[in-house]
């Protein structure tokens, strides 16, 4: 069922139950009718906009609505936990219960308290109960399988003791290892070892002083070529790349339009810059119809109002408008609607800052990120930022763009002046892995990894949807959030999966809205089909055990049902 290019307008078919699928497609890929029917029957939502064919491929993103009963029960659950929390705090205050956490020194008891009591209420009473699901120490390469050090707690997670056992061969669904470059053997590791021998581990100086090695220049040139931009600059930490460069680009009198789900580093960078920040909505509601317009409408409205009305009280025109978006949002698994954002940016003369932390290497036919995924021109994005941690198996971040931009950052970025440059073996790892992805090392390993990741993504997501879980996000995103909702299930899911030798990441408040806790799977090119099948089997079991199959839109397994009239009636919208 390959999509075939359609060169002319074509109408969508009217479904048997009378609903019309949205919009026309011009210049786009059109699925053959059988595939369309099966896909429509499968309850997938086609968000193809009518904005003159901006999208060259179908954009399938869905956020199913929280079932009402589940939402109510979740609130009830949190209510019960809060009550118990107050009870426990009361008991601890009156010394009826032993207080486990560290307290202030005797001599400093009458100082102004360092923490607000309420701030810690959530930590003490909710987070502590399920704390064993996070910060699990490992002692091997974070590849497809990982060794976890076993911990035990005899005082309900207040303190941990290491038993000395190591749980070997746990399937790793939590590390950001999209292209499988987290390895301790192979050409990347050998190259890094050689450079380590020659250069040492540290640098002991900043870029502008005497810490600019020839390796850094080589890296930056390579990154620029990889992205298809004029120049690039690399930094030692991905978080710091955002928090130190956004203030260098915008300042007072500028406007930042930031997506509501942006990462903490973007938020911090925006705050430190001193510019005015306005938030536009993300596509996160569970409604199926016309959702594709909402967040872009929100952005467009903000842009219009900003230009027409100017700065809040003085009415002076804004100096610059900067739109901050991410390629893949790691908590939602959604992909930014880049064609629309670029269209808006061009219309309103704003600047675009794209944070590709999770999407570089993971999207696009050759791994060049979200810009290639949508078939757009990298020159349209003013500032392309990304990190080397996820797909390249190293650490650090980069910014790419026009030469003037990079020259300016070389002279004015906080990191170039005050922070140590990248460590040489890390640089070598990035260089080798990037060359591998580009195919410049003479093998086709890079291309295979990118393809393997795309296949794994589609397979995994489809199977999970068939099982009946609520999965958020875009079909092509290797980040797969599986909704848990209830607080007790967060802990239960993490622990049950570890018992079955699978390591998953569970997230709750405050990283997500309070009732939308989830488990997040990060797929990797290193995962083989067997590993995925094992994982899926266990997830299925645990899903039945914990009653996690909330989805009301059952997918018809594509291979089992042949195309016939009844497939139209399968789903209820």
């Amino acid at each position: 069922m390959r999509p075939e290019p359609g060169g002319c307008c074509c109408r969508r078919t009217v479904r048997a139950n009378g609903c019309v699928a949205n919009g026309e497609v011009r210049n786009g890929y059109v699925r053959s009718s059988a595939a369309a029917a099966a896909a429509a029957a499968a309850g997938q939502i086609h968000h193809v906009t009518q904005n003159g064919g901006l999208y060259k491929r179908p954009f399938n993103e869905a956020f199913e609505e929280t079932p009402m009963l589940v939402a109510v029960l979740t609130y009830v659950g949190y209510g019960v936990l809060t009550l118990f929390g107050y009870l426990r705090d009361f008991l601890r205050y009156w010394r009826i219960e032993k207080c486990h956490h560290a307290t202030e020194r005797e001599e400093q008891k009458d100082f102004v308290s360092l923490y607000q009591d309420f701030e810690n209420f959530y930590t003490r009473n909710l987070y502590m109960r399920i704390r064993d699901n996070w910060n699990r120490p490992i002692c091997s390469v974070p590849g497809a399988r990982v060794d976890i050090m076993e911990r035990q707690s005899h005082d309900y997670n207040w303190s941990f003791k290491y038993t000395g056992n190591i749980i070997k061969g746990v399937i790793n669904m939590g590390s950001y290892n999209y292209l499988g470059f987290a390895r301790n053997t192979g050409s990347c590791q050998e190259a890094a070892a050689k450079v380590l021998e020659e250069y040492g581990a540290g640098v002991c100086s900043t870029r502008q002083e005497i810490g600019n090695l020839d390796k850094h220049e080589e890296l930056e040139e390579l990154v620029a070529r990889f992205l298809g931009v004029e120049a690039a600059m690399a930094y030692g930490m991905g978080f710091a790349t955002n928090s130190m460069n956004i203030p260098a680009l915008v300042g007072k009198g500028c406007l930042i339009l930031s997506d509501e789900l942006n990462h903490a580093s973007l938020v911090l960078g925006a705050r430190l810059s001193g510019a005015t920040i306005r938030i536009f909505k993300h596509n996160s509601s569970g409604v199926h119809v016309q959702v594709c317009y909402i967040d872009m409408q929100s952005l467009e409205k903000l842009l219009k109002d900003a230009i027409v009305y100017g700065q809040p009280r003085t009415r002076r025109p804004w100096k610059k408008i900067l739109i901050l978006v991410e390629g893949i949002y790691s908590m939602e698994g959604s992909i930014v609607r880049l064609p629309e954002v670029i269209a808006l940016k061009k219309k309103y003369k704003a600047y675009l800052y794209l944070d590709e932390a999770h999407s570089i290497g993971a999207l696009g036919p050759t791994g060049r990120g979200v810009v290639e995924y949508f078939g757009l021109d990298p020159e349209d994005v003013d500032v392309m930022m990304g990190t080397f941690t996820k797909s390249f198996g190293a650490s650090g971040g980069y910014i790419g763009g026009k030469k003037e931009l990079i020259d300016y950052l070389r002279t004015h970025s906080h990191s170039a002046v005050y922070a140590t440059s990248l460590s040489p073996p890390v640089v070598e790892q990035i260089i080798t892995s990037m060359k591998c992805i580009m195919g410049q090392d003479g093998t086709s390993l890079g291309k295979e990894c990118v393809q393997q990741l795309a296949e794994n993504t589609r397979y995994f997501r489809r199977r999970l949807k068939e099982m009946g879980f609520i999965i958020y996000g875009n079909e092509d995103s290797p980040v797969v959030p599986l909704m848990l909702y209830m607080p007790a299930k967060i802990g239960a899911f993490g622990r049950e999966m570890l018992k079955r030798n699978i390591g998953v990441v569970v997230v709750g408040f405050p990283a997500t809205p309070i009732i939308e806790s989830r488990a997040r799977f990060c797929l990797s090119a290193a995962h083989t089909k067997e590993i995925l099948d094992t994982a899926l089997k266990e997830i299925d079991e645990v899903g039945d055990l914990l009653q996690l199959k909330y989805s009301r839109h059952r997918l018809v397994p594509l291979l089992d049902r042949p195309f016939d009239e009844t497939t139209y009636e399968e789903t209820e919208d």
Binding site: Y115, C204, I210, L213, L268, P317, T389, V426
Partner: protein, 443 residues
């Protein structure tokens, strides 16, 4: 039955209408007409008067021109063209193609090309690969990290330590984790940029006191509550002390534990000590140490800790080995101190340049005795000196600042760094070279 009653009520109403006095009817009629008019008249919209028409809005949108994203950078900007170091930035380096002795990188204990450190890092690389592929909370915690935190806590004789993957982010994340809006922070004027950014992110009240001037600090604290000397100040005025020891860790004190050991202060009195591992330890990253009560909080609210990937294990292993070396030869600190003293003395009395900094400090500044009046001119003169020294195989660097962003911008200077690896004669040579060049350029 209901309809009958209704009808009956209706009849009553009509009768009442007939029997009502005329003025009553007229008044009610007017009221009804008024209501009808209000209902159908257009609602009074305040903004309609000042609202722009769609066409005007489009015109405004067309006309608006933003500034260019970045202003153009002049080609001769002093910081635009970096020095390129080929090969490792160790004791003898190749800078811009010239072989020099390194007096510019903060490699105080010479651990950058120590074979033991490299071997430990290599072993770790072979076991774990390079990256950690995740933040500490999500399978990014390696046993190496836990080891390093343990070792640092033991070395500094505190309860707990926490490591960050970037030196700058260490103090910049630690400060906003504790100090929020409504809190007050007393900061030395000469605090480094990372501290300034941390304070900016915290949104607290900042009070600056003059550099190293305890009287000024006291005056400020008195204005808040009241106080006295350093540590005693803390208890009298009930303030907490955060100490930033990036340059003094591994340098001061008998065993290299920093300023607290140097002055013989009980480490428990300091609430938080933050340092980066990029200077004396010749690795990458930073750490904070202190009592568990204080440090544990950062594990959930330190932004640079929770939302960022953890330190690559090979760098953590390098730091552990460096700590081992520091613990095994405590004699190097005395050697370093001596060398600092020596070059400090040797560089006194250069005409045109004055030495700024304590004789204990391995990194000190050479500033112009008399400024030419413009900062740019000063910077250019100093750069001339640096370039000529480089030609004579002494690698130096100017201290770089972001001129527009620093709160209290120090005057331009050349930074000279002393390391354990430099021999006495190299120090002598450096001193004499700087003297000659300074004389040539400044006169």
């Amino acid at each position: 039955m209901a309809t009958a009653t209704e009808q009956w009520v209706l009849v009553e109403m009509v009768q009442a209408l007939y029997e009502a006095p005329a003025y009553h009817l007229i008044l009610e009629g007017i009221l009804i007409l008024w209501i009808i008019r209000l209902l159908f008249s257009k609602t009074y919209k305040l903004q309609e008067r000042s609202d722009l028409t769609v066409k005007e809005k489009e015109e405004l949108i067309e006309e608006w021109q933003p500034e260019p994203l970045v202003p153009p950078v002049p080609k001769d900007h002093p910081a635009l063209n970096y020095n390129i170091v080929s090969g490792p930035p160790s004791h003898k380096t190749v800078v811009n193609g010239k072989e020099c002795i390194n007096f510019a990188s903060f490699n105080f204990l010479g651990l950058l090309d120590n074979p033991r450190v490299k071997a430990a890092a290599l072993a770790s690389l072979k076991k774990y690969g390079v990256g950690t592929c995740g933040p500490r909370g999500f399978y990014g915690t390696f046993d190496v990290h836990l080891d390093l935190e343990d070792r640092l806590a033991k070395f500094m004789k505190t309860e707990e330590a926490i490591i960050y993957s970037y030196g700058f982010a260490t103090i910049a994340s630690a400060i906003p984790a504790y100090s929020k809006r409504g809190d007050i922070v007393f900061v030395d004027r000469a605090a480094c940029f990372a501290i300034q950014k941390g304070l900016q992110a915290s949104r607290s009240d900042i009070k600056l006191f003059k550099h190293n001037d305890m009287a000024d600090l006291e005056r400020l604290l008195k204005e808040q509550e009241i106080e006295d000397q350093k540590v005693k100040l803390k208890y009298k005025y009930k303030a907490r002390i955060f100490l930033e020891e990036s340059l003094s860790f591994g340098v001061l004190g008998e065993h290299g534990r920093g300023v607290t050991e140097h002055y013989g202060i009980n480490i428990d009195d300091i609430d938080l000590i933050s340092a980066n591992m990029e200077n004396a330890l010749a690795s990458i990253g930073g750490f904070c140490c202190g009592r568990s009560f204080v440090i544990d909080h950062q594990r959930l609210s330190g932004q640079g800790y929770c939302f960022s990937a953890s330190l690559p294990p090979l760098l953590a292993a390098a730091a552990i080995e460096a700590l081992n070396i520091m613990e095994e030869n405590p004699g190097i600190f005395a050697v370093l101190k001596e060398k600092c003293g020596q070059i400090h003395k040797a560089l006194q009395g250069i005409s045109g340049l004055k030495v700024v900094g304590e004789s204990l400090s391995p990194a000190f500044h050479l500033q112009l005795e008399e400024s030419t009046g413009s900062r740019e001119q000063d910077v250019r003169l100093l750069q001339e000196i640096v370039d000529q020294c480089m030609n004579r195989s002494i690698a130096l660097t100017q201290a770089r600042y972001l001129e527009k962003e620093e709160k209290c911008l120090p005057p331009p200077s050349i930074r000279v760094v002393v390391t354990v690896e430099q021999t006495e004669e190299e120090l002598e040579r450096a001193a004499s070279t700087i003297k000659e060049v300074a004389q040539a350029v400044l006169l």
